[in-house]
């Protein structure tokens, strides 16, 4: 008989669970129902017991046992403290299966925690199913091979990819939270905060419906024999502003550096490797994706695995997108098309 623990953590407000945590809670509730298993939810990261209770109230309706580790030392994501906190929550819950969101915070520590518990960890889980045991699905080779796995060894830790389960919604209620005691380990690391590489515009928007990908074509010589990088930058930023889309990039574009004094800067100053989609970049989840000036080579397209509808604008009628990788390919000049798209969106918004 399984016992299930869902590890969650608070967001930047310090007193609410992250969306990805609530998704893991949904998965836990479902799994517990299928196995008539006891469900515990552990909350990490609040600076005080009061804040942890406020955060836990969002999942009180699950009826699960609620545990929390809180305190100033646990308020910041850091390996030494988070690993100690998660370890203590796991020991208190005595679970055979531990689910957690695959957030940067838990990705940093989950393997270490599993090891301390004598357990095993699998990450990037996209779905769970139940039979006699539990099966989990994940991708190998950068989203090219899909496998369903199972483990007999317990405890089994599973990190769930964000966006694979609906976030738990229930009446928030008074939560009875048990505080779990843990000695704060000596922390040799101080978290100084968050830094955005973009001073002006935040271009990565995980919750946007649309992913807009810019490829290296934006910076290449155009049919008039000239390059138009400044215009490309303006068109792209205007589109992001008008559409609310998230910006992705091909590797070739992200690798390009501006010439001249600002040598270390990207050719499009609002773009970094964090925008890169593909084999050595991100694999985001969005309902739709629009690729522009990108050839659609396989190492790029593997990053589109979880993009629903796909369209592309390319001058090349034989680009990779035309070979079954997009739903629609417009063989056209993206400069012209995006200028028109922007003016239509502008007209719509005014």
């Amino acid at each position: 008989m399984e016992t299930i623990l869902v590890l969650t953590h608070v967001d930047e407000t310090g007193s609410a669970l992250t969306k990805a945590s609530l998704e893991a809670v949904s998965a836990g509730v479902e799994l517990a129902k299928q196995h008539t298993a006891k469900l515990t939810i552990g909350v990490l990261g609040a600076a005080s017991a009061e804040a942890a209770t406020v955060a836990a109230s969002a999942v009180a309706a699950t009826g699960a046992r609620l545990l929390a580790i809180s305190g100033e030392g646990f308020a910041q994501p850091r390996y030494a403290t988070d690993a100690a906190g998660c370890e203590a929550l796991c020991r208190a819950a005595q679970a055979s299966i531990v689910l957690a969101p695959g957030s940067s915070r838990f990705v940093r520590v989950a393997a270490g925690v599993a090891h301390r518990l004598g357990g095993f960890l699998d990450t990037h889980i996209t779905s769970l199913s139940s039979n006699d045991g539990v099966d989990a699905t994940r991708w190998f080779y950068r989203q090219r091979v899909e496998a369903t796995i199972s483990r007999e060894a317990r405890p089994w830790f599973l990190l769930l990819d964000a966006g694979t389960h609906a976030a738990f919604e229930g009446e928030s209620g008074a939560a009875q939270v048990e505080a779990v005691a843990v000695t704060l380990p000596a922390a040799r690391t101080t978290v100084e905060g968050l830094r955005s590489p973009m001073r002006d515009a935040q271009t990565i928007r995980p919750n946007a419906r649309l992913l807009f990908v810019a490829g290296a074509g934006w910076t290449k010589k155009q049919p008039d024999g000239q390059i138009h990088v400044a215009e490309a930058g303006e068109l792209i930023l205007a589109f992001l502003r008008l559409s609310g889309a998230s910006l992705g990039s091909s590797k070739s574009l992200a690798d390009q550096k501006a010439e001249g004094p600002g040598e270390e800067q990207s050719v499009l100053p609002f773009l970094t490797h964090m925008n890169q989609i593909g084999q050595t970049g991100a694999t985001p989840r969005h309902a739709k994706g629009l690729s522009t000036c990108c050839h659609g080579e396989e190492p790029h397209v593997v990053g589109w695995r979880f993009i629903g509808e796909r369209r592309a604008i390319s001058l090349d009628p034989n680009c990779g997108w035309t070979r079954g990788k997009a739903d629609v390919v417009y063989v056209a000049d993206a400069f012209q098309v995006m200028a028109k798209v922007n003016s239509l969106l502008e007209a719509r918004s005014s």
Binding site: G112, Y141, R188, Q202
Partner: protein, 270 residues
């Protein structure tokens, strides 16, 4: 001020991403068709870690760099012909299976054992580098487990930058959600850094570095320890290549106006 660093980079080998992959199931579980003959490269994110390490070592005289790599000996030798020309290192090969399907916990145990046995390694000064995820299993688990096994509790993942300070402390930038970096300062070694892309371009091949490396690489490969990796109860229920082909509509004769109108309608309201 220069510091004498001891950096161990863990990096596996992976099929060249331009290759077609086809899963097959053999007597030892799943694998890739012809995996052993597919052209291989150093795992890309781990390669970023290697280049960052090589630059730190070059800037800090007296420092030392080891490259620990688990894979079939013959395949390691092929990949090292190129990698050996890009950075100066001492290779520590571990002769074992290739691919993403063996269990990460077993891989980590073998790597940790190889690192713990390195002659001349001062574990208090260790910077353990690798990629934050491999291009095979893509789990982001192995390096963390190696660190845990070596008792290192300052760990960073998705690292794009390390800046050493004169007092031995260092600042680390780690990727977090929403395209931002978490900035942390660690008091000093030992630490684990799982690298994302970092800031360096792939170094050009340097035949001289290659020749110097090869003098150590060949004997190291000859005496590489062979390991088998336990499955730890990991069972593959199915392994599939999903159908990826879409019915593509290719529009060659639409005007920019027509395309724009269709796109705006498709994008809908955000």
């Amino acid at each position: 001020m220069a510091q004498e660093l001891q950096i161990v980079v863990c990096a596996g080998i992976v099929p060249d991403p331009l290759q077609t992959l086809e899963p097959v199931t053999g007597p030892n579980g799943p694998g890739l068709k012809n995996e052993i003959v597919l052209p291989a490269v150093l795992d890309p994110w781990a390669a970023c870690a290697l280049y960052e390490a090589a630059q730190l070592v070059a800037k800090n005289p007296g420092s030392k760099l080891w490259l620990v790599s688990l894979g079939p000996k013959a395949k390691l030798q092929q990949v090292m012909m190129t990698v050996g020309q890009k950075a100066a290192f001492e290779l520590v090969p571990v002769d074992g299976p290739i691919g993403g399907f063996p269990d990460a916990h077993s891989t980590a145990a073998a790597l940790a054992e190889a690192i713990a046995a390195l002659p001349g390694l001062d574990r208090e000064r260790l910077l353990l580098f690798g990629g934050w995820e491999s291009a095979t299993r893509g789990a982001g688990v192995t390096l963390q487990l190696v660190g845990e096994r070596l008792g290192i509790s300052d760990q960073f993942q998705g690292v794009d930058q390390i800046t050493l300070r004169d007092d031995g402390s260092f600042e680390v930038l780690e990727r977090v959600e929403g395209g931002r970096h978490q900035v942390s300062v660690c008091a000093g070694t030992p630490a684990v850094l799982g690298w994302a892309t970092g800031n360096l371009a792939e170094p050009r091949n340097n035949p001289q570095t290659g020749m110097a490396n090869m003098r150590g690489i060949m004997p190291a490969l000859q005496k590489a320890k062979a390991v088998t990796l336990a499955a730890n109860g990991l069972r593959y229920v199915s392994v599939n290549l999903p159908k990826q082909q879409r019915e593509t509509r290719i529009e060659k004769n639409m005007t920019a106006d027509e395309i724009a109108r269709e796109l705006v309608e498709w994008i809908g309201a955000e």
